[in-house]
């Protein structure tokens, strides 16, 4: 491949949120006419890097140059002006506007000061055709489109801006296989036209197919940049993980503490043929007291919906949920938490679903258990204080006082509060939705130890994580979810990174063809 001059360069860029360093002196060089893959675990700093590049957040320090000139973008509009365009992971489309309106949204063609709808339509059709999505009608409203079509509109919207640098942030996660083919052809075409493309994906096979250069990030720092194909998978994975798995995890199921669940005992939680909308299909597995079961798979394959359905949040769930062998009807979290022996869910987004940020640590901790801490509707203050204090000590929550607003705590301590507020109820079935996302390694370890202790004390734990290392280190068993189905069940020694990734990508490894399929 011929060599190109750098189109874009980023040097020594840092960004902190509150006390957390999201990006630490990051460097990146993007050549014109190349596809550059960005690799890293969740929380490695990739998203922050993109936000800095596209003017969504301002960096604390560092310089960026575009085609040799120093640039800094005050807003997404300014970045677009400089022809740096991003296909965002969180969709940036406006649901109530039409596809054509969305595609030309920031810079529509005008005549006499009014938007020229005919010209707009032509531009939209052209962009859709280039993206390989001519099946989408420009007049359709975005809110009426399914997720995969929206993502194609998002790509078309980026193309219509005639970018010099195109950033794709997990832009293919919801696409169908045939869409992915079309998008890949289009991306390669853009590369040949001389654009610089930055490509972020968790799917290794996509990166292998597309990338010319790769950069690995970890913990907000750049670890290495190298030409694609010059490192083995094992080396890449090692760079991404950067530590020996298992050293930070507590020992797994210890028979001397709690006897292994015998098949005779009724499972704590039993799922029989659970289906919901087009997101969950016929999911069945058991969860026993004393074990930690992981949910694996790529992000967004239905894991969140599965946990929500077990907490009574979803309507129209088909199939049966049994607790201690008895079918339960869950009409909402209020019902779930009172269903003996108690179900708890540590939700996906602690800031909007787990906590009331402006309220005090005390109020948050006791909030889910006020019915237990009150008599006749009146909160028993001494009892509440004692319970709150117990939880602060149990989880070693770092706060100067229980009266501090929970929003003032660090992310890790906030997450501890979310977990503690449920432990206050003493639930025996604990569902966790990616509880360690965006928190520091020390707190993560504390959470791992806590989960194992709870399991040893007889709790049944269902643990969804986007971090494979966690699943390997923590879980007795992992159910890998793909497209709303359990793709594979991995038990004990089978839980390896290789197996997890293979099942998550729905690849049947040649050597393990016989081991396919759990339930």
């Amino acid at each position: 491949m011929e060599s190109h001059a750098p189109l874009f360069r980023m040097e020594g860029v840092s960004k902190s949120y509150g006390g957390t360093r999201a990006l630490e002196r990051a460097d990146l060089t993007l050549r014109a006419g190349s596809i550059h893959a960005l690799l890293g675990e969740n929380g490695a700093g990739k998203s922050t890097l993109i936000k800095v590049m596209t003017g969504v957040v301002a960096p604390d320090e560092g310089v960026m140059t575009l085609a040799g000139r120093a640039v800094s973008f005050a807003s997404p509009a300014a970045a677009n002006e400089a022809e740096v365009v991003c296909v965002f992971q969180e969709l940036s489309l406006i649901p109530e506007l039409s596809v054509a309106d969305n595609i030309v949204v920031s810079n529509p063609p005008t005549r006499f000061g009014m938007i020229d709808r005919k010209a707009q339509r032509l531009l939209a059709e052209e962009a859709l055709a280039r993206a390989g999505a001519s099946d989408i009608h420009p007049r359709a409203l975005v809110r009426d489109l399914p997720l995969s079509r929206r993502q194609m509109v998002e790509i078309a919207k980026a193309l219509a801006r005639k970018p010099r640098i195109l950033i794709l942030d997990e832009a293919t996660s919801a696409l169908t296989a045939s869409d992915v083919d079309k998008v890949f052809r289009m991306l390669k075409g853009l590369r040949d036209e001389g654009l610089g493309l930055l490509y972020i994906s968790h799917r290794m096979n996509e990166i292998k197919e597309l990338a010319d250069d790769c950069t690995v990030f970890r913990g907000g720092r750049k670890i290495a940049s190298y030409p694609a194909g010059s490192k083995s998978d094992a080396e890449v994975v090692q760079m991404m993980i950067g530590r020996e798995v298992s050293s930070v995890y507590p020992a797994k199921h210890r028979p001397e503490v709690a006897p292994a669940p015998t098949p005779a005992a009724a499972p704590r939680l039993e799922l029989r043929g659970l289906s919901w909308a087009d997101r969950l299909h016929d999911i069945s597995f058991d969860l026993h007291a004393g074990e930690i079961v992981g949910l694996g798979g790529l992000d967004g394959q239905g894991q969140n919906e599965l946990l929500l359905s077990l907490f009574g949040v979803l309507r129209g769930v088909e199939g049966q949920i049994l607790v201690d062998g008895k079918p339960v009807a869950l009409s909402g979290p209020a019902r779930a938490r009172e269903t003996f022996p108690g179900i708890a869910l540590i939700p996906e987004d602690r800031k909007t679903e787990g906590l009331m940020l402006p309220m005090s640590v005390r109020d948050n901790l006791s909030f889910a258990a006020l019915d237990l801490l009150s008599h006749g509707g009146v909160v028993d203050a001494p009892e509440e204080s004692a319970a709150v204090q117990r939880m602060i000590e149990l989880l070693a929550i770092k706060t100067s006082s229980p009266d501090v607003a929970v929003g003032a705590l660090s992310g890790g301590n906030q997450q501890k509060v979310v977990i503690a507020k449920w432990l206050l109820r003493g639930p025996r079935i604990i569902l966790l939705n990616d509880p360690t996302r965006g928190i520091d390694i020390g707190t993560k370890q504390e959470i791992y130890r806590l989960l194992r202790r709870l399991a040893d004390e007889g709790a049944a734990i269902l643990f969804y994580s986007t971090d494979y290392a966690e699943l390997i280190g923590c879980c007795d068993r992992v159910e890998v979810v793909y497209d709303g189905r359990i793709r594979r069940e991995l038990v004990g020694e089978e839980i390896t990174e290789h197996n997890l990734i293979a099942a998550a990508l729905n690849i049947v490894p040649a050597a393990e063809g016989d081991a396919r399929g759990g339930h």
Binding site: L355, P358, A368
Partner: protein, 323 residues
């Protein structure tokens, strides 16, 4: 990391700057009033103001709970009027009706609150719209009931006694009632499961729901309470004026919201203290009283009212910047 706690007495640390400002404003108003009229700072005049403030205080209690939830109750005017009219109507039915006049009026207000609550909590219609609509429906009902004329039924002696009598010599009963309701509100908001849920929902209904709190029931209950309190204030006001009248509630909506907001309760919900609302109620009442002492026409009062709310909100009621 946790913020280092600033060593301060608990009551100051908890105190909202808005509440302190409100109390400071009360002092300033008292000063201005005493300059304008020598009779202003006498016990008699101030007790009279306290009586007037009590009606507003009772209404503002309900309004505050709704605002804490992040909602708004615009059905206050006709919930009040309906409470007053129905109370008086019951009184016309004989001794039994007379005895049940006040409870019946309150019950009517709670019914309006129930409609509001069902619409907001279960149908998820924006509270502003539902309460506006229920206000219109109630008005329609009352217009049909009265035939468009001022109602002839008079307030019962009990209503008059509650509004204007004095159980404790020197202290108007209305003020006593407000004191009881206020105490219940302070304790209820701080100590009861309901109160905690109100604050939780106001901060994040999503998080409250995910914590297993029956958020819809709480929201509905809050609207019922607000409707009942408005109607109760209506019956008291009817006792004060000896009868109900068509537009008696119109002049209470804005002052009630103003009192709550000036007392530091966040219009977005989730933050506020009842002490602040007490300050707000006294502040608004004094402001009205000074404006009338100054013999300002209605026009000036409306403008000053609006301006005061906007300015106070700009001082401490702004939503955080987008980024």
């Amino acid at each position: 990391m946790a913020n280092p706690a600033i060593p301060m007495p608990a009551f100051l640390r908890r105190a909202d700057p808005a509440v302190l400002i409100a109390f400071a404003c009360i002092l300033v108003l008292l000063l201005i009033g005493s300059i304008y009229s020598p009779g202003f700072l006498t016990a008699k005049y101030l007790l009279q103001q306290l009586k007037v403030a009590s009606f507003l205080g009772i209404i503002a209690t309900g309004t505050m709970i709704i605002i804490l939830l992040g909602h708004i109750d615009l059905s206050v005017p006709w919930a009040m009027t309906m409470g007053a009219m129905m109370g008086c109507a019951a009184a016309a039915l004989g001794p039994v009706g007379s005895a049940l006049a006040v409870p019946f009026g309150i019950l009517c207000g709670m019914a309006i609150g129930l409609v509001n609550g069902l619409g907001v909590a279960y149908l998820r219609i924006p509270s502003m719209i539902v309460t506006l609509a229920s206000n219109a429906v109630t008005q329609g009902l009352m217009v049909v009931y009265t035939g468009g004329y001022a109602p002839q039924d008079a307030a019962t002696p009990a209503m008059r006694f509650l509004a204007t009598g004095e159980t404790i010599p020197g202290l108007p009963n209305a003020a006593l009632i407000w004191a009881v309701i206020g105490t219940l509100a302070i304790l209820g908001l701080r100590r009861s499961v309901f109160g905690r849920a109100v604050f939780g929902i106001g901060n994040s209904e999503r998080a409250a729901y995910m914590s297993g709190v029956g958020t819809r029931r709480i929201v509905m209950l809050a609207f019922v309470v607000s409707g009942g309190l408005s109607a109760f204030a209506g019956t008291l006001l009817a006792g004060y004026a000896s009868k109900a009248s068509q537009s008696m509630g119109d002049t209470y909506l804005l002052p009630a919201i103003a009192a709550v907001v000036l007392g530091g309760t966040s219009i977005l919900g989730g933050r506020g203290s009842y002490v602040g609302t007490i300050a707000g109620v006294i502040l608004v009442t004094l402001l009205q009283s000074i404006l009338s002492v100054m013999q300002l026409p209605e026009a000036g009062r409306q403008i000053i009212h609006g301006l005061v709310i906007i300015v106070m909100l700009l001082l401490y009621g702004r939503t955080p910047a987008a980024r």
